[in-house]
């Protein structure tokens, strides 16, 4: 099975926002499928998901170049464990 080989999702994401050098919070990042379509250009990306196994996979599959500015955490959207006014952009990734 293959998802979005045409890259339509990535194209619209970049059309809707300039993600370069931004501090980005991704809600419902899962295994990081969407994260890797934008995160390398960001200054900081934090993806979180309530699924511990998915977060573990996302961490394990992080490329070396992403280490230091892309992070994954297990958390719930009902209590986001980050300070007030931290991020420039929040992405609800198939999660509302």
């Amino acid at each position: 099975m293959q998802k979005d080989p045409e890259g339509f999702e990535k194209k619209i994401l970049h059309k809707f926002a300039n993600l370069s050098n931004q501090r980005i919070l991704e809600i419902g990042c899962g295994e990081g499928r969407l994260t890797w379509k934008y995160a390398n250009a960001s200054s900081v990306t934090i993806g979180f998901d309530s699924d511990r196994d998915a977060v573990r996979i996302a961490r394990a599959e992080s490329p070396p170049a992403a280490q230091g500015h892309v992070h994954f955490a297990q958390a719930s959207a009902s209590h986001i464990p980050f300070s007030t006014e931290t991020f420039d952009i929040a992405i609800l990734a198939w999660s509302l």
């Binding site: 080989p5 501090r23 986001i80 007030t84 006014e85 931290t86 609800l92």
Partner: protein, 139 residues
């Protein structure tokens, strides 16, 4: 959902942006696709749980908009395709992963198999998922 949207708002800087990217139920089209084009075989059937989830999501966004937490700046629909090499692989995936919210009716599956059998050798089957991208700005 509304509480989560308030939490997201709290973590956003002033005038920060919320991108809401999600599939929307619309009896997604099942197609046979090859290098020469594609043919529609029919549509999936949306199940009540999926329709209710969609309604809840739209309701939540209307609610936060009415509370003046966010303002909608831009919205666009687009297609997101799932591809499988064979109709059977598609059916198996749907039964395992989408059984709560989408149903592949037998007549649509049979039509897909028929179209795939006579299509080019490079033919694959796909589902055209209707996606919605909305950009909101924190107020």
């Amino acid at each position: 959902m509304v509480h989560a949207l308030d939490e997201i708002r709290r973590t956003l800087k002033p005038n920060g942006m919320l991108l809401d990217l999600r599939p929307v139920e619309s009896n997604w089209s099942v197609e046979v696709s090859s290098s020469t084009g594609y043919q529609a075989a029919g549509r999936l059937t949306d199940l009540p749980v999926a329709v209710a989830d969609d309604e809840a999501a739209f309701h939540a966004m209307r609610e936060v908009e009415s509370r003046k937490w966010y303002i909608k700046k831009e919205e666009e629909e687009f297609a997101f395709f799932y591809y499988w090499d064979t109709p059977s692989e598609m059916k198996e995936f749907m039964e395992e992963e989408w059984d709560d919210f989408e149903k592949l009716e037998e007549d649509v599956f049979q039509k897909t198999k028929s179209l795939w059998a006579i299509a080019n050798a490079d033919a694959r089957v796909r589902v055209r998922v209707k996606m919605l991208m909305t950009r909101w700005q924190k107020i």
